[in-house]
Symmetry: C2
Subunit: 368 residues, 2 copies
């Protein structure tokens, strides 16, 4: 194996495939990056079995071949080389030589025959979405996945194609995050993608209109964007029927500036640390929403102007959940719908229905 | 106590005094910020006994008084308030009220009478130096202090006024870092300042020509810059006579581009991780310095062009120490002076003698 490639291109490819290498695998070969040089293309693969990332870059290939190089040290060497052409050559049966200007590194390689093969996926594209849309949908929902493994299916995000809409849904028993985009797609499909996979996918996605193609099989999902592919196992089991959880009606509706209410809740939450409850209370009446909190350290009272449709209400929440939602949303004004002190609150954008967040209130003995 | 002050001014003052609050003290009162409102000035103090930081800011004081407020929560509340005037009022014998626009926080305060008094220091200024000079001198030396407490005096930096020079010196038994600045000062003085203190002072110092005044007493040092004072205990004991360690003569001298040799050593060090030795070998001859390293993972060979005065030499170093020095220095070209394979190497700026670094080589069995 012998090839020449621009250092910066190689560095970017390494950085992409490293996102799949967790170092947690018990297979030592998975600490490595698989590299194959063939047909004018360099293929790099990083994997922890659950998630695999493959990227292809054109290179000047003088002799075809394949090796596996320790991800950490190979990545660091390339990163620290000067910005110039790097020449990589297999010099004997277990070493490659890296040359760049006056640098010369000989690096032991692992046996590429031991590297696991990627699951084969028939690339009959199911749906196409722009990178920035997918990135935004992931960011808008992933914070609401379950943090513990009690119900493994909830550590994933539901990706659903239904009635010409692409929906992403995360929920953890206390809250629901739903983001939708219209999409011209006839078939209906759904699968649950591990949160970890989406986190890594989201790091590779750019804020551009370039397209990501998504293909499902029974057990795997493939994201194909340009020269890079991400393949992940899916989570097994049925996702909770989220549609039935979201209330269709409400008794009162509050419209409020998102940044203002976020600031109020962030400040009030500083006084809500006792016993990890993060409890903040809302007192909604007329044109004012009053946020209060109490702790041994003191108490806070914050006021924000609102437009209220319906009667007032007193209701309490875990401030962390409110902050997560308001920080994730991007619009200037949002609405909050309430039915009763013990019913979920539904938060939406004022002007569009592509984001729906649901939060369970906290029941408090005395809500005054 | 009652006063009004611009949020941003208060936030900056809090951030300065918080640098002294480590949370490691056993005295609960030291988790707080002491605040006194008097004579049109607000005085804030943070302290962990070893180091105390005091800052004064003008404020609209309506009623004089003093309180101690929990540093973390008070800091967070002020940081999250809108950019406007904050009104702080003592509302009863253990609470203050913070008001800003529609925010209202009541915060329990601690008894200011329990707050330790700062050591009194007669401010007969011993020396004045610009903030950027002092900041640069700290950065140029502090990395070389001892990291463990075996010899406590070496966890500090020697500040020495001698023969119209201000010297700062750090050493840890393997290396010496010395930075000097000319200074018009008749008296000779020296003291050893804890590294931790200088770290915090360095964070407050700005890259400006504004002056810092430094006052020594037997046990304390006072840095006075504008409205802020830092008072620290000094380390007790005699510092090592560093002048006698630095060789006066050498057999060969290498002049080299600093960034080029830094890159070579950084790359070679990646192959020098075995057994934590970080060992890199130099082979100096004619116009070339060759850096090599070996490990189970492979080996590296780097070349850098030099100007050599004297005979060649083969010598080995801990690459970490070389990297520390070359990263800290700022000049384009530097010189390295060698006497023998087992004698210290002296590193200087090519064009000025205000920086001197000394490194012990590593003795290796076979230096080929």
């Amino acid at each position: 194996m012998k090839f020449l490639i621009e250092k910066s291109l190689l560095q970017e490819a390494i950085s992409d495939v490293q996102k799949a290498i967790t170092g947690k695998s018990t297979l030592p070969i998975l600490q490595g990056i698989y590299i194959s040089a063939k047909d004018g293309l360099l293929t790099l693969i990083g994997s922890d079995i659950e998630v695999s990332i493959e990227t292809k870059i054109p290179a000047n290939i003088i002799e075809e071949g394949e090796v596996v190089l320790d991800s950490k040290i190979f990545g660091e060497i390339i990163r620290k080389l000067p910005n110039d052409i790097v020449e990589i050559t297999e010099i004997n049966s277990n070493e490659v030589e890296l040359k760049c200007q006056k640098s010369n590194v000989q690096l032991v390689y692992l046996n590429p025959k031991e590297y696991p093969t990627l699951p084969s996926i028939e690339e009959d594209v199911v749906l196409s979405v722009s990178q920035k849309t997918l990135k935004n949908m992931i960011k808008s929902t992933i914070f609401a996945i379950a943090q513990d493994d009690t119900r493994p299916i909830l550590t994933g995000v539901l990706l659903q194609v239904k009635e010409n809409k692409l929906n992403m849904v995360a929920l953890d028993g206390f809250r629901v995050a739903l983001k939708s985009e219209s999409m011209d797609c006839k078939s209906n499909k759904e699968s649950v993608i591990p949160g970890k996979t989406l986190n890594e996918v989201s790091k590779i996605l750019k804020d551009t209109d370039d397209v990501v193609q998504i293909t499902f099989t029974k057990n795997h999902i493939l994201f194909n964007f340009g020269n890079t592919k991400v393949i992940s196992r899916l989570l097994e089991g049925d996702f909770i029927k989220y549609e039935s959880i979201i209330p269709k009606e409400h008794n009162l509706k509050v419209t409020v500036n998102r940044n203002e209410i976020l600031g109020c809740i962030e400040r009030a939450s500083l006084m809500a640390k006792d016993g990890n409850t993060n409890l903040v209370k809302f007192d909604i009446s007329d044109d004012t929403l009053v946020v209060t909190s109490n702790s041994q350290l003191g108490k806070a009272r914050e006021e924000v102007q609102i437009i209220l449709q319906g009667e007032g209400i007193k209701i309490a929440f875990n401030s962390k959940y409110l902050i997560d939602v308001f920080k994730t949303m991007e619009e200037e004004n949002i609405t909050m719908e309430f039915t009763s002190t013990v019913s979920p609150c539904v938060i939406r954008n004022q002007d569009s229905d592509n984001s729906v967040y649901l939060l369970l209130p906290v029941r408090v003995a005395n809500n005054n």
